[in-house]
Amino acid sequence: MEYVVITGADRGIGLSLVENYVRNGCTVFAGQFMPDWPQLGELQQQYPEKLHIIPLNVGDDQSVKNAAGLVAGTTDRVDYLINCAGIFPKTEDAAGFTSAFQVNSLGPLRVVEAFLPLMQTGKKRLCTFSSETGVIPLMQRVKDFPYCVSKAALNMEMHMLFQQLRPQGYTFRLFHPGWVKSYMSGAKSTVGDFEPEEAAPVAYRYFVGDDEIDDVLILRDIQGQYWPF
């Protein structure tokens, strides 16, 4: 039995990823940011033994600590930690930069830090949704400044975590899901190349796979291509 924590599990690719893991026999602790959104609760009814919903706002220190405490009350081990929560700020001002940094950049660090004690005895796999928008050499956009800056900061953070934690046996999976019809702006996007249900199985196979070179930090996309980040 493997234990999985997934942030941003309310809907979209996070929800679909939860379903992939529980369907494959894992016990999943799904971070819920929007208790009024019904889909995660509906999925739990299908998998009442395997799916545990935990309140989680990755932008809030105490919420993340509380979530880790709740998980520790059920299991003494987490095998996979999956950072999926993210936002796309509506404004390009200081509020937009700050909110994107708090959730997209610091959120994964808060979560990793809080769950490390539980991961010490598990598979030690840290999985994070990054993006081409954090890849400086290939950046072509002329807008979306806060989101791109937050993802560049996230990529730096992952390199630093990799340097610190890889010697302790942790393995990393960084995934760029492509242009997904996501909910990051609030409502589900009507444009994009992939449905969340198409991207999630690819992410799942990448996250659980053991055929990667683990001594190099790699950013891989939905088509299996590596990105120079």
Partner: protein
């Protein structure tokens, strides 16, 4: 015509050195202790009276004041470093753009090679390294947006031992080697990080 330079982050020795270098060249140099400094409006009003701004050079290499190991990370400290860095610099660039459009149109960033995302030598101070990575992305985004208007960009990583050329000199150099064949020989059409020995640093 006398060149007008604004250097923000004069609290850092490299930025202060750049100010001194430009003064030696005869430029009029305005200074801000940091990009988010309270003196910003006053200084920009003075530059407005000059009628243009040729160079905006920024250094925001603020370190975390409470750097702790994993398990004890100080997120408030990290947020403050990011705010002084990315938010401060972004706000300064935005208000300076109208004046820069009347001048030489050069945006310079003084940063640190230790925060190259590909090969980070900084392994403990998340606030510092993540903020610098954010600033590198910010400069790339501004490059994409403003290069078509004729803006040029510099990203400079000073040598820790002080060797190599100084930041001011690098900010002042032009990289169009042959104006007759601008398409191929114009280094201004790409944005790179370089150190004091002109070595290109991976982003």
């Amino acid at each position: 015509m006398k060149e007008i330079v604004l250097i923000a982050g004069i609290q850092f020795k490299e930025a202060a050195g750049a100010a001194a270098w430009f003064r030696q060249q005869g430029a009029t140099v305005y200074e801000l202790p940091s990009a988010d400094g309270a003196e910003r409006a006053e200084v920009l009003a003075a530059i407005e009276a000059e009628g243009k701004l040729d160079y905006l050079i920024v250094q925001a290499t603020h370190r975390g004041e409470n750097v702790q190991p994993l398990g004890q990370v100080d997120y408030q400290d990290m947020a403050q470093v990011f705010d002084k860095g990315v938010n401060g610099v972004h706000a300064l660039v935005e208000v300076a753009l109208p004046l820069l459009r009347k001048g030489k149109k050069r945006l310079g960033l003084i940063t640190s090679a230790a925060t190259s995302t590909r090969e980070p030598k900084e392994t403990k101070d998340f606030a510092f390294a993540m903020t610098q990575a954010g600033l590198h992305m910010l400069w790339k985004l501004y490059f994409n947006k403003l290069r078509p208007e004729g803006f040029t960009f510099r990203v400079f990583c000073p040598e820790e031992d002080g060797s190599g050329i100084p930041a001011g000199q690098y900010m002042h150099m032009d990289f169009c080697y042959d104006a007759r064949e601008e398409y191929i020989h114009n280094e201004e059409n790409r944005i790179v990080m370089r150190d004091g020995h002109m070595r290109e640093i991976s982003w």
